[in-house]
Symmetry: C2
Amino acid sequence: MNKGQGCVRIVTVPLPRLGNNIGDVERLIGVSKEELETDRVAISLEAMKALPALLRRCNHRIKLILSKESSGWNITGVQDPDAEEAVWGIALDMGTTRLVARLMDLETGRTLGEQGFDNPQIRIAPDVLARIHHAGRPGGLEELKSVLIHSINHSVRTLCEGAGCGVESVYSMVCAGNTAISHFFMGVDPSNIIREPYIPAVNVPGTLDARYLGLCINPGARVFVFPNIGSYFGGDLVAGILFSGIHKKENPSILVDVGTNAEVVLGTKEWLIACAGAAGPALEGGMSKMGMMAAPGVIDRVAIDPVSCGIKVHTIGDEPAVGICGSAMIDLAAGLFSSGMMDIRGKFARERCADRLVQEGGMDTFVLVPAEESGTGSPITLSQVDLNSLTSSKAAMYSILQIMVEHTAGMSFGDLDHFYVAGTFGSFIDPGSAISIGMLPDIPMDRFKVLGNSSLEGAALLMNNPDLLDEIEIIRQRLTYVELNVNQEFMNIFSGAKFYPHTDRSRFPSVTGYLP
Amino acid sequence: MNKGQGCVRIVTVPLPRLGNNIGDVERLIGVSKEELETDRVAISLEAMKALPALLRRCNHRIKLILSKESSGWNITGVQDPDAEEAVWGIALDMGTTRLVARLMDLETGRTLGEQGFDNPQIRIAPDVLARIHHAGRPGGLEELKSVLIHSINHSVRTLCEGAGCGVESVYSMVCAGNTAISHFFMGVDPSNIIREPYIPAVNVPGTLDARYLGLCINPGARVFVFPNIGSYFGGDLVAGILFSGIHKKENPSILVDVGTNAEVVLGTKEWLIACAGAAGPALEGGMSKMGMMAAPGVIDRVAIDPVSCGIKVHTIGDEPAVGICGSAMIDLAAGLFSSGMMDIRGKFARERCADRLVQEGGMDTFVLVPAEESGTGSPITLSQVDLNSLTSSKAAMYSILQIMVEHTAGMSFGDLDHFYVAGTFGSFIDPGSAISIGMLPDIPMDRFKVLGNSSLEGAALLMNNPDLLDEIEIIRQRLTYVELNVNQEFMNIFSGAKFYPHTDRSRFPSVTGYLP
């Protein structure tokens, strides 16, 4: 099916005549069933209302705007095919800290605009856990839902204005988010997500009415919410799998989505296993007092000369440095290690660091950018505590991968055809740096593929090709979620991974480290 | 299926457990599919929202409130089975002049209350044609819809208050009305109903969301609108057929719904043919200047002694007479004819009428109740013009029946096993009187069955037994609508039927008329 063809069709409805009392709606549904080769076609009340006048104005040739759903097709709108009215859709990635909305033309599949915006729930409660607790208070769930929907409506309106039409041109929305945010989005009680036995209220919301959700788009519009696999494996990951295509490949691939959590999916077209583990605070935003999201002045790349220990930093927008983001932290650790400024235990090496190392609150602190060069008037620093936190995070990441690939699937990293890295943060990681600190496995660089916002891309993919609903259902049914047991075995693996790059050097043949 | 069982079930949902991440909604849908023996079960967002807390409060044993629809079952609500919360439904007959709402208990099938109320659209436009024209004006359709919905909401609230619960206890509504009012109810453009080739916008609305229609009942409630057969054969008639059961009988029966129009359905379990024709103004309300709806003081029965010409009138509530209703008009005509006060042409016979006949505006006028006995201070009278109008109406009725039974179906009236009379007005007709004026065919009296408000009863039947959806679809597909052609043949038949009881006396062997 070509792009866009799935959602928009032009049909010619048979003319009414005396002696045949078939209603307008029934004649339309009849011809739609033929066109779509199905016997399950429903129609929105909005489309029903618009149909009689439109049919006669357009000589019974009309444009159908369709939503494919698990229960069949739904005619969400009807238009004059010659009027060149917009038929748009919104693909939406709903993250705990940030959302991204993409406006798409359903007829061409083209992207018309994209906008990222902060999750306004942050103002109510910083993380998922706190928000779920807040939802349990009187009016709390409604508050969390309404600020979220309000911000989405605002973004949709901005995108539509930018593209030159009104929000009523949006006939479809495809949303992917983690399990908690999907519950908030629908206003459904998320409390059992964090209570044993950790059961979501709903895993397969399916397709809902935009109006019920409070979304200000076309009143007949339908909203697909990606299914969750469980409390700790959300629709954003399912969308990511869809986008990566690992569920269709002959040979095993792995998908790692690194955000607040590290979610890992391993599989082929025959099987899929998944697990999620805490990636640690070092990997996104709040790592150190300097850690921050991508913004002008944030350091996003660090390079250190292993011999001279000279440091080059790159900031977003080439502005004076104001902070450091997660991917640059990995570059930094890689540089510190290869230049000998950090030892294999992840401790600063005083001699090599020289005057870059200062004491702050009685703690070794590495000055990355001195005060006089920074954009804040203070130096951009990394303390031993910050570094320890990064060490834990990278060790956790590698341990999860090792457990999944070696222990659960009984394979070796070398068996992986593709290593997909996704997530807001994952997208910026330099695989070379990540390998050299022992965070990612030491496999050929060309096997790493950075996917970007795979949740958004998966949503956009479905928007352009509703037949992918079947693939989503296959992913959902095929995927086995493996609980990560933090037991003695895990702790042993984790301890080994806390070294740079690893206690077992044979795992990282390409990483030489500092050779004085 | 027992009464009520179709819409309410109690199920035990499997307990969630660690290692099984099936969501609450999916576990409920799983057990519902088993209970209902189907694989098509959907759930409302409202029920989704209520489910997580309810499941845990009720130890996973819950009451499901269900709606059976053409696309499968829909869980509209969930309740604590031990809380004895009300689960109600509203059966609604939507007439051009009057609506009747019946509040029912979905668990027992019992009627909890019933209320008739005027169609508020009358204030905007008196009849269907004028309303359809009004709908074409800016805001007209919305106005007609909103006054209608408002009046329904008001009635539902009154009924619920009377039964001791709130409107949120109403989970289901089944509505039957003519084609135009069904369009108004949904806010769908009715204009093509009266424009060649007379095609409704929609014949099969199916089941809709209460909220979309503006109905103030449970937010998850679903509303079934009986399908129309065409512009001139509405869902009220389909509901009437369902209630009469003629579509299930071995031998032919006929159903006549006499209101503003006379709609006739003839058939067996093998076939159904229908036609609608103007019954004439004499048959409801506005007949003469005295004609009025059933109300205190309205004459509803008239008996005339054929020898003495003594007249007995009965009024509603035994109040002094203020007017005369359609059924009493038929009694009156029958009495006038049998007493010789009216001849076979339907003209007053001066000698027999004696001083009952006066001149008013130069026209023979019959005094039924003298001024001194009436409740208005004026006499209750019937002019020759009023009588002519009744004559035309009764002739039209008989002609339609003759065309249907003899010409279209090729049968004789004697072949009819049952003759069902329905409609607000039809319910009050005395078949003996109607036969003696040649309005209804001269068949044994025990074949006549008065159905009352068959539209409302059909709606109530479906409310208690959702399996009847299949029968409704069978009726819809099997029924052939025959256009009544007012051609020379019809005019010949009509001319014969304008005599009392008929020019062909062999058609009315039991009617002797006045034998002086």
